[in-house]
Amino acid sequence: MSGETSTIDKMVEQKYQHGFVTDIESETLPPGLSPDVIRAISARKNEPEWLLEWRLKAYEHWLEMEQPDWAHLNIDPIDFQAISYFSAPKSDKDRPQSLDEVDPKLLETYDKLGVPLHERARLAGVAVDAVFDSVSVGTTFKAELRKAGVIFCSFSEAVQDHPELVQKYLGSVVPQRDNFFAALNCAVFTDGSFVFIPKGVRCPMELSTYFRINAAETGQFERTLIVAEEGSHVSYLEGCTAPMRDENQLHAAVVELVALEDADIKYSTVQNWYPGDENGVGGIYNFVTKRGDCRGARSRVSWTQVETGSSITWKYPSCILRGDDSVGEFYSVALTNNCQQADTGTKMIHIGRNTRSKIISKGISAGRGQNAYRGLVRVTPRAENARNYTQCDSMLIGKNCGAHTFPYIEVRNPSAKVEHEATTSRIGEDQLFYCLQRGISEEDAVSMIVDGFCKQVFKELPMEFAVEAKALLEVSLEGAVG
C-alpha cells in the first residue's frame, strides 16, 4: 500500500521541468562590483547623469550596510565580488521592433516554457514586456496602450523616453537605503518594467511580464515602477521561470507601486525560478523588495503571489496606507519542497484614517522545506479606525518539513481593530484516505487538497494566471505528488 511517505518521495524525485539553458551569446561584464562597474552599466544604457549619481549614492549606502540575518533562513555566504552585474543578449544593440525581429531561439525558449509569446499576446490580448536576462527584448500591444495613454515599456526605455516621470517616482516608495538588497538593486539594476496609467484611465488589458534568468552567475536586478494616477486602474502580472544550473543565482529585485487618489493597482506574481535540486544544490536566491504606496485617499494596492520556486525566498510585498480610506491586500501561496526555504509575508502600515488591510497567507511545506510567514501590521497614532484581518494557514506534507509564523502587531491607536487567525495542519492522512476511498488517486487527491487549501488566494488571480498557478502547484507537488 503506498502511503503518504511514498507520495512525498515521488514529490522529491520530480525534476524541474523548466531546467534547460538557451545558448544565446551574452555580453557579460566581468565579475565584481565597483563604481566603475556601475559607470559601465549606466553608460551602456546611455543614462542621464542624475541616474548615474543616484546609483553611485546607493552604492555608497550599500557599502555601509550589512546583509540582514533576522529571517528564518540558512543562507550560504554570498560573494558579491564573484557576481557579474550585467549581461545582455547580443541582439540588444538593435532592439527588435516587433516579435518577428526577436531572436528565434528566444521565442523557442518561451515556447518550451509554455509561454508562446505571440500566441498568448494575440489570443489573450495581453501586452507582454519580456525580460530576458537583464534587457527587455520584446514589447507588444504598445500602440493600443498608447491610444489609452498608458505607458508600458522596459525601464531602460522609460529612462530615455520619460525621464521626468522616472525621476519623480524612482525611489519614492523604496528609498535607496531601505535595506541591503534594495540598496544593491539601486546601484546595479539593469532593467525591468515601467508602467504609467494616467488620470482616470482603466488600463484596457492586463499587463504581463515574463522574467527569465539565463546567463550563468549573473545576478538579476530588476527594477519595476508602476504609477497609477488619480482614479486609474491597472492589473499587472509577473511570472518567472529559470533554467537548471548549479551556481546559486542572486536575484534582488525592487518593485515600487504608487497609487494616487482612487487608484487601484493589482499586482500578481507567479514565481517559479529554479529551486535547486533535491539536495538543495543550485537554485535561485530571491531577495525581493516590493512595496506599494497608497498615496491618495481611497486608493488600493493588492498583492497576490504564488511562490513555488527559488531555493531561498526573502520577500515581503507591503502596503503603506497613507491615504485616508485606502486599502491594502496581500494574498500569498508559498510552497517549499525539498530543501527550499521561504521567509515571506507582508507589512501593512496604517497611516491614514479608516484604512483597511487584509492578509491571507497559505504556506505549504513538503520534503525538507522550511516555510516562514512574517507579517507586520502597524497602526500609527493618527490611523483612526484602522482595520486589519490576517489569516495565516500552514500545511505540512510529510514529517521533515517546517512551518513557522512570526506575526508582529503594533497598534498605537485604540480605535484599531486587528484580527489574527493562524492554523497549522498536516495534510491529513484522513483527508487523503477519504479521497482514495472514493476512488481518487493519491496524486489527484493531494493536488485537490492543496488546491482547496489555496483557494482563497487563487481566486484573486486573473483567470489565465489562476490556471497556470494551479498547474504550477501541481507540478511542484508532483514533484511532491507523483
Binding site: Q431, S441, K455
Partner: protein
C-alpha cells in the same frame, strides 16, 4: 445468489494492538447485514480494513470480494471495484467543492471500469436525480466537502455520495449515530433505494431504531474482535433490551430467541 464477500479468519492489528481476532463473515449479493457491538469492539476497524486504510495491518486471514483478493488492492482500486465506506466521522476538505469532488470520484471510478467519463452537464443531471430521490436540497452541492457541515449534513452527504457512486458493497459505519428522525429516514431511504440483488451492504449501528427502517437479512454481534453471535432482525431487538453483557457472560450458547435464523457464531 452468490457470495460477494467472504472474510475468513481475519486478524488485524492497529498500532501494534490486535483488534480483530479471527473474524469470519459471508455476505451474499443482495443481502444487508447489520453489525452491532460494544464500543471499541473493532467495528470501524473492520470497515477500515476492508477499505484499505493505512496503519491497519492484516496479520492473518483472507478477504475475497467478487472473486478477487481484496487485501491485495490499493484503497483507490477497492473503491473503483465498488467498495464504499460511509465514514463514521466524514472528513472535511476545505476549499474543495463537494460537486467537484464527487465528479472526480465518479469519473475516476468510471475510467477504471473503462466507461466514459461524465461531463459536467451529464454529471449534474445525475446529481439532481439522486438529490430528488433522497429528498436532499441542493445546498450541499455548492459547499466544500463536509466543511462546516452539521453532523446530520455530513451523514446525509455520505449517503448522497453512495447514491451517486452506486457501489457494489457499501459499508455504513454508524451512519445513524447522532441523527434526528428525519435524517435517519434519509439514511434509511438511501439504503433501501440502493438495495438490489447485485449489491451487498454492511450496516454498523448501535441502535435498533435504524433497523426499523432498514430490515437486515442478518444481524451480527462483534465483540472483542470476533463475531460472537449472528441472528435475524430480532437479535437487534434483544440487544436493545438486554445490552451486550449477556454475550460476555458466555450467554452465547443460551441465546434466548425464537428466531430459527439465530445461531451462535463458532
Amino acid at each position: 445468489m452468490s457470495t460477494m464477500l467472504k472474510i475468513t479468519d481475519l486478524h488485524a492489528t492497529v498500532a501494534g494492538k490486535e483488534i480483530l481476532k479471527g473474524l469470519n463473515l459471508e455476505l451474499e449479493a443482495g443481502e444487508i447485514h447489520a453489525i452491532m457491538g460494544p464500543n471499541g469492539a473493532g467495528k470501524s476497524t473492520l470497515g477500515n480494513i476492508l477499505a484499505g486504510r493505512e496503519g491497519y495491518e492484516v496479520t492473518q486471514g483472507e478477504v475475497m470480494f467478487n472473486g478477487k483478493n481484496l487485501l491485495e488492492l490499493e484503497p483507490e482500486e477497492r473503491a473503483c471495484e465498488g467498495v464504499f465506506l460511509a465514514f463514521q466521522y466524514p472528513v472535511e476538505i476545505p476549499g474543495v467543492n463537494n460537486t467537484y469532488f464527487l465528479r472526480a470520484a465518479l469519473n475516476a471510478q468510471r475510467k477504471y471500469r473503462g466507461e466514459e467519463e461524465l461531463d459536467s452537464v451529464g454529471f449534474l443531471r445525475l446529481v439532481r436525480e439522486k438529490l430528488e430521490i433522497l429528498h436532499i436540497g441542493d445546498g450541499l452541492l455548492h459547499r466544500a466537502v463536509n466543511e462546516g457541515f452539521s453532523g446530520g449534513e455530513k451523514k446525509r452527504n455520505e449517503i448522497f455520495q453512495m447514491a451517486v457512486l452506486e457501489p457494489t458493497l457499501a459499508i455504513l459505519d454508524e451512519t445513524d449515530s447522532g441523527l434526528d428522525i428525519d435524517a435517519l429516514k434519509t439514511v434509511a431511504e438511501g439504503v433501501n433505494r440502493l438495495r438490489s440483488k447485485d449489491r451487498g451492504m454492511i450496516v454498523v449501528t448501535h441502535y435498533q431504531r435504524l433497523l426499523d427502517y432498514i430490515v437486515p437479512d442478518k444481524v451480527h454481534v462483534l465483540a472483542d474482535g470476533k463475531l460472537v453471535a449472528t441472528g435475524g432482525a430480532d437479535l437487534a431487538l434483544k440487544l436493545e433490551e438486554q445490552g451486550y453483557a449477556w454475550l460476555e457472560d458466555g450467554g452465547i450458547a443460551t441465546l434466548d430467541t425464537d428466531s430459527p435464523a439465530t445461531t451462535a457464531n463458532p
